[in-house]
């Protein structure tokens, strides 16, 4: 051991004192080195954007929307607290600021003045009115029309103001057409197809389109006409298209890519050991769920022979060891899910997931009349308690978890047979016999969550969304039909008082929890890596992978 002398001690003290003095004066520069202009950030994605026209991408959490967001600022932004913030619009419309009329039928949208498209043309509310008409014209191929289809008329008062009249009261209007949603430049889009625009877009974000080499990369360069006083630091952002997650990992390790997008939980330990990258984990409102098929496949008025009984469903939830799944397979980085509103301001924290208890599960199954047979599987009236299960094939995390659940259920006398399908079959439509929507299996596993920042529970749980031969395109394939829940889900769409709406949604969540239409498995984390040379990445929870990209104008590299 080295002995420190008195002189060394004094010297150290002097340095410390000087250091403190310097730190006091220049703290910001010492803590965060000053941003530098220039450089390129390479984002590694295992899915290429299908189009850079956001009306063709099919959702605001997708690789395409993530890729195009440095080039398009949204009308309103969903911030770190999942609240709306002004972006291109100068204010968030509300009843209080006069942006929403008392009856909820008229919206007044006010935009920042002097906005420009990256080709120099002015960007105004006229473009927004054009966007509405363009989306609602079927030949233009917009994938999603929700929200836009509720507009009766748009009156453009001047460049910065437009008044929107709705056909009916519809609270999700702001979330579905403005929050994290962009607009189209009329002077460009009106002269070409949506598809052509999507290959060479004109935007209004901190970056503008550079080039797109299909299957390889998409480049965007700094937009000198960006409307915020803070222009982008980077010269370029490049999205590099990689074939799969394994390649993303390999290239994040070697530093070929700066941002690695969308890892699985199983990759957390591996990536947290890589010295040159930081792991960034966010918690969007997306969860992994195992849906029960509660009605018979062909006749939704008849209950499912086994899962129609709520005692069996509750027993299966209690027999599923979610704590172990989360602590082992998912490395404890998430929590047991409840419903679509997890990780949002509307999450009902008074609801507690059913506990894991094999004893209670066995008691419930006994009570429901399922008696243990000689083969270790329960039976009732000659029918064995055997359930088919399916999820998307080729997903290691899902395969591991389904094996754990299979063993869990076996120990209470329930047989689970696994029939995983490729996603292209599993997610097929009802009419084509898709694994989930056509109720081909007794239990199905998949992930999804809110489609916009509006807390809309309807698509998966309203009885009018049950897919049938006559109405094949709803998403409530489980067949949950609870008249009280329907009434609450309808009422909250018309309740403009936030506190009252919250109450209705709380009640709806309790009903959903008590009806046990699914095993809410766990909340899905969004897991990305950022190379330590990149600064300023500050993702939102709500946006998932898209939430990484909202502030690219603040990014810089060493």
């Amino acid at each position: 051991m080295r002995r420190s002398t008195r002189r060394q001690f004094l010297k150290a003290g002097a340095y410390l004192g000087a250091g403190a003095a310097v730190a006091g004066r220049f703290t910001p520069r010492v803590l965060a080195a000053a941003p530098k202009r220039g450089g390129t950030v390479v984002v590694g994605v295992y899915q290429e954007a299908n189009s850079l026209n956001w009306i063709l991408t099919g959702g605001n959490i997708s690789f395409a929307t993530m890729t195009l967001s440095p080039m398009f600022d949204p009308m309103l932004r969903v911030n770190q607290q999942s609240q709306l913030e002004p972006a291109l619009l100068a204010e968030v419309p509300s009843v209080a600021n006069g942006g929403i009329s008392k009856d909820g039928m008229t919206y007044t949208l006010r935009m920042h003045p002097g906005l420009k498209w990256d080709d120099g043309a002015p960007c105004t509310m006229r473009d927004w009115a054009f966007t509405w008409k363009w989306i609602m014209t079927p030949k233009n191929g917009a994938v999603i029309t929700s929200g836009w289809d509720k507009i009766a008329d748009v009156q453009v008062k001047n460049d910065t103001t437009a008044v929107v009249t709705l056909k009916q009261q519809y609270i999700p209007f702001v979330a579905e057409t403005l929050a994290d949603w962009q607009l189209l430049p009329e002077h460009v889009q009106s002269k070409m197809t949506s598809q052509d625009f999507g290959r060479k877009p004109v935007g209004n974000g901190p970056f503008k389109f550079g080039e797109w080499a299909s299957g390889d990369h998409i480049t965007m360069v700094r937009n000198p006409l960006y409307w915020r006083p803070q222009k982008a630091y980077l010269d370029r952002i490049v999205f590099k298209v990689l074939p799969d997650r394994n390649t993303v990992i390999a290239q994040a390790k070697t530093g070929d890519i700066d941002l690695g997008i969308d890892y699985t939980e199983a990759q957390i330990p591996e990536m947290s050991k890589v010295p040159n990258v930081n792991l960034i984990i966010t918690h969007p409102p997306i969860y992994e769920r195992y849906h029960f098929t509660m009605v018979s496949r062909d006749d939704v008025s008849k209950p499912h022979p086994i899962l129609g009984d709520i005692r069996v469903r509750r027993a299966l939830v209690m027999a599923t060891d979610r704590p172990t799944v989360i602590n082992t397979v998912l490395f404890g980085r998430t929590k047991i899910a409840k419903n679509e509103l997890d990780n949002t301001a509307y999450e009902d924290t008074s609801i507690h997931p059913l506990p894991f208890s094999l004893d209670q599960a066995r008691a419930l199954l006994d009570e429901a009349g399922w008696k243990l047979g000689a083969d270790g599987i329960r039976a009732k009236d000659g029918q064995r308690l055997s359930l088919t299960f399916s999820t998307t094939a080729g997903n290691q995390t899902r395969a591991t978890i389904e094996a754990i659940v299979q063993a869990n259920w076996k120990s209470v006398g329930v047989e689970m047979t696994i029939h995983d399908e490729p996603a292209s079959n599993f997610f097929g439509s009802f009419s084509e016999g898709g694994g989930w929507l056509a109720r081909k299996y007794d239990v199905v596993g998949f992930a999804n969550g809110l489609s916009s920042v509006d807390p809309n529970l309807r698509p998966f749980w309203h009885s009018s969304e049950i897919p049938t031969k006559e109405k094949p395109n709803g998403l409530n394939a489980s067949g949950l039909a609870d008249a009280k829940l329907d009434a609450l889900l309808d009422a909250q769409l018309k309740e403009f008082d936030p506190a009252k709406r919250r109450q209705l949604l709380d009640q709806a969540q309790v009903l959903l929890h008590n009806d046990v239409p699914m095993i809410p498995m766990y909340d899905r984390a969004t897991i990305n890596t950022v190379n330590k040379r990149v600064h300023g990445v500050n993702p939102t929870n709500f946006g998932g992978i898209t939430g990484l990209m909202w502030n690219t104008y603040e990014w810089w590299v060493e």
Binding site: T40, V42, E48, N50, S51, L56, G58, G59, P138, V143, I144, T145, S146, D149, E176, S194, Q195, G198, R199, A213, S214, G215, D216, H217, V238, K240, V241, L242, P243, D244, N246, T247, A250, Q251, T254, D256, P422, A423, S424, N425, F426, F427, G428, S429, S431, E432, G434, W436, F446, A447, N448, S451, S452, P459, E465, K471, P472, N473, G474, L475
Partner: protein, 321 residues
């Protein structure tokens, strides 16, 4: 000769129709394009119904086939359901990349396998023959994806960690440095090496077998008996005849130069035709898949015809009539 070509091309037409019908039904049954929207609740039931009706997916599959066929006969190969781009454009822009990779492999395989095959046939049961044959069997048994992943693990990831010169893990060039001939060559080394190692075995074994076959012929013995120099016996009498079977193999493989390598392109992120197929199979993008299948079918037919013509040139015994 002209008669042969015309006749064979005419025969190809009904064959291509049959291929297209079977392929369409199989491709269409293997997945539903609506699956690309997954469980996305942003699409309302009305949006889903509108998209299904716009593409005619609510019609029977056979009707959908005739829609597709009608467009193709008019020269319209359709647009991708996912990227919205013309299928022909998507194939054309991937083709050069695949030609670079597969062309390189093809040349390497032919250049390396001919001397190895000839040597091992002429030095049968020698030590080197065992080495060549053993190596061929070993490389033939290696799964391509495994060899690809291991080579990336060692030559790009570990070499870099050990501070050695290393090769890139994938892609066609480094985006920081930009696209250049040097970059493409650098990125070509690993995938081309892996594919060559795996494909070499078949050629070496094939050439060795056909050389041995010819070496046993009476005319070889006669040539040697009348004192023709051994080199001349080997290259003029034996190799030229052994070449016939090699040409068959080469021409059948020539279509692969265009169709690309499914596994290798995937592992090395090489943006070629094989990867185009894999990517679009996963999302049931049937216009793209049909375009690829039909293009490769036409190429197989064409190269078979070319093989027959080259045959006639190499082997005077064959007459076209």
């Amino acid at each position: 000769m002209i008669g042969l070509i015309v006749r064979r091309l005419l025969q190809a037409v009904p064959l291509l129709f049959a291929i297209s019908l079977v392929a369409f039904v199989l491709v269409r049954l293997s997945g539903d394009p609506m699956s690309m929207y997954g469980a996305n609740a942003a699409l309302s039931a009305q949006d889903r119904a509108r998209i299904i009706a716009a593409h005619g997916w609510d019609k029977p599959k056979i009707v959908q086939y005739f829609y597709w066929l009608r467009d193709v006969v008019r020269g319209d190969w359709g647009t991708s359901l996912y990227t919205y781009r013309p299928v022909t454009v998507m194939i054309w822009e991937r083709l050069p990349n695949t030609l670079i990779l597969m062309g390189t492999v093809y040349v390497i395989v032919v250049l390396v396998s001919v001397p190895l095959g000839v040597y091992s046939a002429t030095h049968r049961y020698s030590a080197w023959d065992y080495v060549i044959n053993g190596g061929a069997f070993f490389s033939f048994a290696l799964p391509t994806f495994w060899l690809g992943l291991v080579s990336i693990m060692i030559v790009s990831v570990k070499f870099q960690q050990w501070g050695l010169p290393h090769l890139p893990a994938g892609g066609m060039y480094n985006l920081q440095r930009g696209e250049s001939v040097g970059q493409v060559l650098l990125h070509l080394i690993l995938p081309a090496a892996v594919l060559s190692i795996v494909s070499l075995a078949g050629y070496v074994r094939y050439l060795r077998a056909s050389m041995l076959e010819v070496l046993r012929q009476d005319y070889v013995r006669t040539a040697r008996a009348k004192g023709v120099p051994e080199a001349r016996v080997l290259w003029t009498h034996v190799f030229r005849n052994a070449l016939l079977s090699l040409v068959t193999l080469m021409s059948l493989d020539a279509a692969r130069i265009f169709s690309g390598a499914l596994v290798t392109e995937q592992v090395f992120a090489w943006p070629g035709m094989g990867r185009l197929f894999v990517e679009n199979a996963a999302r049931a993008d049937y216009p793209v898949l049909m375009g690829l299948i039909m293009a490769v079918s036409v190429l197989v037919i064409v190269f078979n015809l070319i093989a027959d013509i080259v045959y006639g040139y190499l082997d005077p015994k064959i007459r076209f009539g």
